[in-house]
Symmetry: C2
Subunit: 139 residues, 2 copies
């Protein structure tokens, strides 16, 4: 296996609500391949897909039941500490739930968390030790 | 916010076990920045990180309790249908739990699922409608 990922797939309770979240709060654009059943967002070399949680479980042939912490986070790293504050202020102004306010963390970064409508956790963070290229790729 | 992701972070029960899974079963190499507390794998423009589930929840200031389906999947897309069979055969030979055997799916692809030690679901799939560039990026 090559050392790469193609899609992060999120199982959502309401596709319209979740799609609107990523479009309106994050300001992202869906791919034209999106339908009423699935939304795709082109990220940096990978896709984010939103799909019914029930159907995602069915596709994977697993039980859809599940509660509590999902045991994963998605991180959006900024290019400065100030940018973390800026992004969080913008998201909060748009009504996004702020889970952890921006703060210095023990490993030397500056980090915060927000939740999407399905309580998927996005960390918005500045990591001075993790360089990003011009396109925002971790390199 | 730019339309991009930096890190997929998985909260794991046993870091050594999970790191060994990605190193030995997937054949991936950890970044030198990895420590006894966190493992990083450089993927295509993003990182995969493995971190204690308890500590990940603590970092996000949420309760670590959670059971059942996590509501997300990670997809590794191949360049052919045959490659799906090949990857799954290799993983199965290494003792990886196959959740769904490779099969034709309604949207025109060929898909399978495996589970990592924390029941994180990886879809191994060929999607004839999703082109990959030479580096394996979805474009």
């Amino acid at each position: 296996m090559e050392q790469r990922l193609t899609i992060v797939g999120l199982g959502v309770a309401d596709l319209a609500v979740s799609s609107a979240f990523y479009e309106e709060k994050f300001g992202w654009e869906k791919l034209p391949a999106s339908t009423n059943d699935i939304s795709f967002f082109q990220l940096n070399g990978i896709l984010l897909s939103l799909y019914s949680r029930e159907k995602l479980a069915e596709d994977a042939t697993v039980d859809a039941a599940g509660t509590g912490f999902k045991g994963f986070t998605l991180a959006y790293n900024t290019r400065s500490k100030e940018e973390v504050d800026h992004v969080i202020a913008e998201l909060e102004a748009k009504g996004v739930r702020i889970v952890k306010r921006p703060q210095e963390v023990f490993w030397g970064g500056y980090s915060s968390y927000i939740a999407d409508p399905d309580d998927n956790l996005w960390e918005i963070a500045f990591n001075p030790y993790l360089p990003l290229d011009k396109k925002g790729n971790a390199v």
